[in-house]
């Protein structure tokens, strides 16, 4: 009889990461909403609509990826092999995707984001690899 592998450490790490980043990005969202709602000068007069869009996208991607981490923490306990690659990719994507949008808000012009946006495709790639690796780890 084989015993079920124990991935509880990895699962706990993603739960901490997920809830922690959810806290960060929900706070970011709240700040952005408040600045828009109360038409705060600094926010409205700062740069362009593209910059504000970048920050909103950073908030949205960061928040959703936080939930992915929480979901992944529970998924990891059902995996047959330790999903180390998926774990690494999800953490990497959580840095690159919202980080790319945040940085992309700076240094752009003419409706285009700044060079920071280059991190976003990397984050997307990591996300895709992570999802595929997660599926692979779930194979019986």
């Amino acid at each position: 009889m084989t015993s079920k592998p124990d991935f509880s450490a990895l699962s706990a790490r993603h739960l901490r990461f997920g809830w922690g980043s959810l806290l960060v990005f929900v706070v970011l969202g709240g700040v952005l909403e408040a600045m828009h709602g109360f038409k705060v000068d600094w926010y409205l007069s700062f740069g362009s609509e593209t910059q504000r869009l970048m920050w909103r996208l950073a908030h949205a991607h960061g928040t959703l990826l936080s939930l992915v981490h929480v979901a992944f923490a529970f998924t990891a306990t059902r995996c047959s092999t330790e999903p180390r690659v998926a774990s690494a990719c999800f953490i990497g994507a959580s840095v690159a995707l919202p980080g790319g949008f945040l940085l992309g808000a700076f240094g752009g012009g003419g409706g285009d984001p700044g060079v920071g946006i280059a991190l976003v495709p990397m984050g997307l790639l990591l996300m895709l690899v992570g999802v595929a690796a997660c599926l692979r780890s779930l194979r019986p």
């Binding site: 109360f38 409205l44 940085l103 240094g107 990591l126």
Partner: protein, 662 residues
Amino acid sequence: MDPRLAIAPRALLRGSVRITSLLWLAVILGGVCALLPLLRLWSDGRLTKLAVCAAVAVGVCAVAICTWTTPTSARPRPNAPLEALEEAYVGSATCKSCHPEEHSSWHSSFHRTMTQRASRETVVPQFERLELDWYGEQVVLEWRGDELWTRFVRGGGQPGHVERPIEQLTGSHHMQVFWYSTGAGRELAPVPVCFKLEEQIWLPLTSVFVVPPELRDPPEPGKWNQSCAMCHTTDPRPRMDIGRTDTHVGELGISCEACHGPGGAHAAANRNPLRRWRKRSEGRDETIANPGTMPPARSAEACGHCHSVRILRERHFDSWREHGSPFLPGGDLQSTHLVIDRNDRDAPELRQTLRRDPSFFASSFWSDGEVRLSGREFSGMRESPCYQHGDTTMQIDCTSCHAMHREEGAADEAWRDDQLDDGMRGNVGCTQCHGDLAEEDALRAHTRHTPGSSGSQCYNCHMSHTSIGLMKASRSHAITSPSVQSELATGRPNACNQCHLDRSLGWTADALEEGWGVAKPELDQEQRDVAASVRWILTGDAGLRMLAAWSYGWADAQEASGTEWMAPYLGRLLDDPYYVVRFNAARSLGSVGGYGGVLKGYNHLGDAGQAAPFVDSVRAVWQARYTGGARSSVLMLPRGLDINRFGQLYARRDDRMVFIHE
């Protein structure tokens, strides 16, 4: 002027370069951080450390490279008008956050691009270096990096060699004018050539106006700061004094606050989301001026602040120099400005203007006071019964027909051209009040033209093309009825004959009497027999000849009058003393068809000797083709033109000097 000064000192650029470099560093470090978890999987930690070290090294190199090589167009502009918002203003970018749709349609309008900084994005003609002719002198335009420079020898009262950077552009719809900084504070002066957008040609600046051809010097330095900026920017402040030109503007171009007034109080009040919700349901907000909801007179005056012939009231002269116009949208234009009409010849505000330019009234108005310049539509509209209406619910204003904003995606090319509201290209503008004419039978009875034809369009009879500007004729906004009597009194072409170019005043007088009961004025034999447009061309002054030349190319007039007889008349104007007349004659001749080959090589800016052969060539080509037979109104004998009569009339051409100051 040392051209090296065009490039900002490196030290001034460091700030923006450092930001770019730091961004690159942040991107590289961010990428490494994102990949760290993966790297850790396949290494014992040494690879990770190596990767971090490599990333830091690459980042530092990137910063170093960027610091020394990154080009930037940012530079101080100590000699260009300064964009600086006054305290009460917020700028169009702030308006956009709450009004993105309105901002979008304004952004696509020509109002926004009326004044722009000169850059590779805003300069329409594509070139690296151009050598242009300005009445025999050379004008050079060349890009030096991302800066446009001009070089030429200035003539007239301001002689001297000019080699200066071009700072600003005026226009993006019909033509583009280039302004260089003179170096005297923030003073601008025009490059003596401009670019005509439709034809994609360069023209001497003075040649685009109806002015005597001897007048070749462009407007004097400082004209932009003192005059043009007042309507071509938002919240302009001339800040001009003896020895000082320190012009400030809120925004270049005509932006939100030019029509809505300063938005600072509005933006501050509406930071409160509950107030926004309450005001939206009320449908009005007293913290901002909105021409769309103002009483008609106030709304029209908001546009009329620029679109009229006006002058500042004398008591505001001093404060204007420092603070600009005291008028704010929603206010009473008449209290701050004299909107000039024919009764104002003795107004104290006009003393200086009339001393400087005795032809001011003749160049701005027809003799009955109807405005003669395009772009001054309020001056025309306020003379109209539809505006002078006692009932404000029926009184028209500019927004009766025009819309400054469109819904998302609806700001198409046709709208951009004249900003007419939906449906206003037909009769809807008029039938909003004159509802009885919306029915086809009523329209046919009133217009005596087939519904749908050009003669059944209200504006073709009541808003004819008698205003001059931008090298063409524009519709008068003085809404009047066709009148032969008015033409006899003022010389202004009547609407019927501007379409029926082959008909005489006598024919029009008969038609007006028969159809509309207008009493027939007394006419001499020539007025009864000879087509009015033929008389305009052969005996009229330069303004009249220009309107006639334009009308011969108007598609509606060509359909109503036929074109087979037109060429000798348009050909006659090819060596007209006035360049604008020649330009319109050549353009109309091109639209008649079959004369493209004859016109090859024709330069409307050539001297009389160069243009004269084209007059003969056009007539010869026409003579060989003409099969129209005898038509006495247009001086056609069975076998061609009545040369004697033509010559007799042409000998009476009105050669008095005409200045139409746009």
